[in-house]
């Protein structure tokens, strides 16, 4: 009876240990997927620091510029948001297609996502050029608090860099997945990155554009 108890306690000790000792994956995800999640968390903290610093300066400033008229700026930013959200749906479709082994279709959906990213970048650069043409620089602008330019270009520039890297990343994955060099897990992990880029914009759109909308 004593030996049976010992076996039972040994079994339970092993099963308790195995979950966290690396014998069994404690998170039930691949290491590279966990790696992407950890990157996302760290990048989320980077963006949070910038966004909170921006909000601080925005709240503390009396004469923060409101240079964005409804047409074309706010409409343009809203279209950019719709484009990013739509590209998130196309990446969901790519992941679904990859899971059932439809390599060609998955690559096609990934390319549709890349197209969304490129369109987003084009619209954003157009917006930047418009502001630069009106005299907005990193440390001054024609309207009010000089920090407007610095915060605007830093926040949106860092995000645009993420979108551009995402487009290249998705392109590599689409190319490799079509040629069986990558697996469905790689498509899913690239999708995680793309959704994160989309998620960050959900905060930048209201903070940077809507709170600086020109009101009548």
């Amino acid at each position: 009876m004593a030996s049976q108890d010992t076996i039972v306690s040994l079994h339970s000790a092993q099963s308790r240990e195995s979950v966290w000792s690396g014998g069994v994956s404690p998170y039930a995800v691949l290491p590279k997927k966990l790696g992407m999640w950890l990157f996302i968390v760290s990048d989320a903290i980077t963006f949070s620091c910038l966004i909170i610093a921006y909000s601080y300066v925005r709240m503390a400033s009396q004469n923060w510029p409101r240079p964005f008229p409804f047409w074309p700026s706010i409409v343009n930013a809203t279209v950019m948001t719709v484009v990013l959200l739509t590209s998130s749906i196309t990446v969901v479709m790519a992941v679904r297609a990859s899971k059932v082994g439809l390599r060609g279709r998955a690559a096609w959906w990934l390319m549709a996502t890349m197209l969304g990213g490129i369109l987003f970048d084009v619209l954003h650069i157009h917006e930047w050029l418009g502001l630069i043409g009106e005299g907005v620089r990193l440390f001054n602008n024609p309207w009010g608090t000089p920090l407007f330019g610095g915060t605007f270009f830093t926040l949106t520039g860092l995000h645009m860099l993420h979108v551009t890297i995402g487009v290249v990343y998705l392109g590599v994955i689409a190319w490799g997945f079509k040629r069986s060099k990558f697996t469905a897990d790689d498509v899913e992990i690239s999708g995680l990155y793309w959704h994160f880029v989309d998620l960050v914009w959900m905060f930048l759109f209201p903070l940077v554009y809507l709170l600086s909308a020109k009101t009548i």
């Binding site: 404690p26 998170y27 709240m59 503390a60 706010i74 749906i89």
Partner: protein, 103 residues
Amino acid sequence: MEATATHVHLEPKRIFLIVWGWLLGFTCAETFLAYQHWVLKVMLLVLMTISIIKASLIISYFMHLRYEKKSLVLTLMPALVFVIAMLFVLFPDSIRLLEMRPH
């Protein structure tokens, strides 16, 4: 013949389309609310609340965290929320700074 006979569990496509619809709806609502004549503090609070809801939908459904093992969720999310909350500690100082300025 590129499809292979694999049996994987996939959530219905309809769920993702519904979430996408909600996200578009929230975006339109934000744009509409931005033109209400509210105090900046209230506007910031309302818009950030909507953004947090949108972010939660993206994380839960598009990033699939809702369907992952609870240990992964509990490792990632509370730590992230805690760090962001700590970053907000100095934020009320912005209101003090604004009120200190001569009007």
